[in-house]
């Protein structure tokens, strides 16, 4: 009798759980998402229940830090393990992963593509085929202290020469106030800062299938980058992305070149002593203006058994609703923005994000890194060699030669 009661109770609980608690999951739709760990993951997780409730699709999030994400995705995709249905990936990974991803060109026609910033759509394409949809557009911006610039009667710098002059004018190490915050460590950001300057002077990392930074333009850009390091906080050789933010938030640096995703915490009054005092504009130019693009995209594994559900998730993540939610979500180091023009132009977005206009403006003219399958290796070579340059192991000339030699070796030239 007692046993019968227990069995009956368990069955009733199970039935209630299945019928009330998780009505949608009973359909058996479940996706595994490979996600970047950290604050972008937090934004996603905070809004995920809405998606699951609306669609009945359960999303299992497998998050990994930036340094491990490429490896995990590469291993899973290339070995055909089928571990992931959907993958949140940095745009330079789209070319090497393309042959393992589901082409989305046809499906894209069902979306309101005109609402996406055009350059962000390009971030998910490779050799004429769309493999990923933009989710989180990122671009380098120049951040500056409006109050300090006004006090010195300076204009926001538009060129590298003006940037150097402003950095020099605002540099006062005795008072622990520094002209500009950038990284000069072996971090990837250091290499990208130098590349930004080199691009501005007309150099290319790869041109005609060969490494081509060892040129007059490449040298000039490198010299400007090294010159800039004279006006930075003393320990930028150990800085990373978060340290650049910290230098601004603590009021130590008058300027920074930083990805737009880092701007939101700078405007958070609980974390920043300079919230509301910052201006945002395009990165400096020389012979051309080349703010670097770095869009986080969402792609679907070719061997996923849940391609339709994955597409539903991908469109939701790149949609207006999620974009609008992300605008208001607090962020400690790195935020998610929306690739949608309508979201970035929305008055509520403009009110919440003082840099929204600069973000949209820079994304219109942004420059992409080489779209090559071998790019991850090329960028790693650039990172290591730039690290040797800033550590004093190599001269600029030797570094440029080594970068090109490494690029050519990777490209088999």
């Amino acid at each position: 009798m007692t046993r019968t009661r227990i069995v009956a109770t368990v069955l009733v609980i199970l039935a209630l759980t299945l019928s009330l608690g998780m009505p949608a999951f009973s359909q058996g739709k479940s996706l595994t998402l490979s996600m970047l760990a950290g604050y972008k993951e937090d934004v996603l997780r905070a809004n995920l229940p809405e998606f699951e409730k609306k669609t009945g699709i359960k999303v299992v999030v497998d998050a990994a830090p930036f340094g491990d994400l490429y490896k995990k995705q590469l291993l899973s995709l290339s070995t055909g393990g089928g571990r992931y249905d959907v993958l949140f990936m940095d745009e330079p990974w789209v070319p090497p992963f393309s042959e393992f991803l589901l082409p989305l060109t046809e499906r894209m026609k069902t979306l309101d593509v005109a609402d996406f910033i055009p350059t962000t759509v390009a971030s998910g394409a490779f050799q004429g085929t769309q493999y990923a949809i933009p989710v989180d557009p990122n671009v380098q911006l120049l951040v500056y202290r409006k109050d300090l610039f006004e006090a010195k009667g300076l204009k926001p710098p538009a060129t590298w020469d003006e940037l150097l002059a402003a950095a020099k004018a605002l540099h006062d190490p005795a008072k622990e106030k520094y002209g500009i915050a950038v990284t000069a460590s072996s971090d990837i950001q250091t290499a990208l800062y130098m590349l930004l300057a080199q691009w501005s002077y007309g150099a290319e990392l790869v041109e005609g299938g060969r490494g081509s930074l060892n040129s007059a333009a490449g040298r000039k850009g490198g010299e400007v980058f090294l010159e800039l390091l004279k006006f930075t906080p003393p320990n930028v050789r150990s800085y990373n992305f978060a340290d650049v933010n910290k230098a601004i938030q603590l009021g130590q640096a008058a300027m920074a070149i930083q990805w737009a995703s880092g701007a939101k915490p700078m405007e958070d009054k609980t974390k920043s002593t300079v919230a509301g005092k910052l201006g945002y504009t395009r990165v400096p130019k020389a012979v051309r203006q080349t703010p670097m693009r770095g869009v986080w995209t969402i792609a679907i594994a070719k061997n996923s058994a849940n391609q339709d559900a994955a597409w539903q998730f991908a469109t939701w993540l790149s949609g207006k609703e999620f974009g609008q939610f992300a605008v208001t979500y607090p962020s400690a180091t790195s935020a998610i923005h929306s690739p949608r023009v309508s979201v970035l132009k929305d008055p509520s977005t403009r009110a919440a994000l003082p840099y929204a206009e600069a973000l949209l403006d820079s994304l219109q003219i942004t420059k992409e890194r080489p779209r090559l399958r071998e790019y991850a290796d090329i960028q790693e070579n650039l990172r290591v060699t730039t690290g040797k340059l800033t550590a004093g192991e190599l001269t600029l000339d030797a570094a440029l030669k080594e970068i090109d030699a490494g690029t050519n070796r990777i490209l088999g030239k």
Binding site: R237, S238, E380, G392, L394
Partner: protein
């Protein structure tokens, strides 16, 4: 005799287990190292023989990484051994309060390496780190612990020492505890000084234990990854780029053949180091010390 033969069969499960978890992956790894296998090109896997190994032999970055690894290993093991030995000798003294401190000494051993390294990264932070706060207060400035090439190598060595001194202490202390007290009493009766007792009784009796501890730690330090990766990532430049960091990069970029070749060369180097240390341990010593 029959019992002896039957006894050998009891080794079989252990040998099968060892074969399965050690030898099969090792042989597979060696097999992969003979291929040019890049994960982004899964249809272009080519047999290249020893090319991956020959390339390492001519790669200045790899040779430098071996030098850095050797410097790090030597520095770390020497510091750990000397401090571990000193602490073991101190704690072997009959002071009751010292014995109560033993648990505290062992604490770093229980900290997960990544967590410990992250903690030290904050401590070493040039501007907000507690270490530089006090050094600056003492008028010693704010040393760039992780961004100066020499200091960075020193820093990772010190953090490794912090984590593993307890191991060295524990092994040597255990050895000291089982030394026969009669020998020391006899030496004291004969008028031997503390130093003489240490030099002519403690050291010879502890030699094997100490060398064993050094051997284990040297193998471990040569393969150290977590602390270096978290603290410096191999930088600044290539100042702290060890063989393991190179291996991680090769795996990370999907170069399976090259990465496995680096792994096996590391194994060879560690085996060579073990052989040299074992020779040192087992060399005949002149009688009478």
């Amino acid at each position: 005799m029959a019992i002896g033969s039957a006894g050998r069969w009891f080794l079989l499960p252990g040998l099968v287990f060892l074969f399965a978890i050690d030898l099969i992956p090792l042989v597979y790894s060696a097999w992969i190292s003979l291929y040019n296998w890049w994960l982004i090109r899964p249809r272009d896997i080519r047999f290249v023989g020893l090319a991956n190994y020959l390339r390492l032999g001519h790669d200045p970055e790899f040779i430098r990484a071996v030098v850095v690894t050797t410097l790090f290993t030597s520095g770390a093991v020497v510091v750990e051994f000397l401090i571990g030995l000193g602490l073991a000798l101190l704690f072997a003294q009959p002071f009751r309060f010292l014995r109560r401190l033993r648990v505290l000494i062992l604490l770093p051993l229980f900290v997960v390496p990544v967590v410990g390294a992250t903690m030290w990264r904050v401590i070493f932070h040039p501007e907000v780190g507690v270490l530089n706060y006090y050094l600056n207060a003492l008028g010693l400035g704010r040393p760039p612990w992780l961004s100066d090439p020499t200091l960075a190598l020193v820093s990772i060595t010190l953090v490794d020492a912090w984590r593993t001194i307890p191991f060295m202490f524990l092994v040597i202390y255990a050895g000291l505890e089982v030394l026969p007290g009669e020998l020391f009493e006899a030496a004291a009766v004969d008028g031997a000084s503390g130093w003489q007792s240490f030099r002519y009784i403690t050291v010879p009796l502890l030699t094997y234990i100490m060398l064993l501890a050094v051997l284990i730690r040297a193998m471990d330090a040569f393969r150290e990854f977590d602390i270096i990766f978290v603290l410096t990532g191999g930088g600044p430049g290539t100042a702290t780029q060890t063989v393991q960091i190179l291996n991680y990069r090769a795996f990370g970029l999907g170069h399976m053949g090259e990465a496995n070749a680096i792994g096996l060369v590391t194994l060879g180097l560690v085996a060579l180091m073990c052989w040299a240390l074992m020779r040192l341990i087992l060399r005949p010593r002149p009688a009478g010390g």
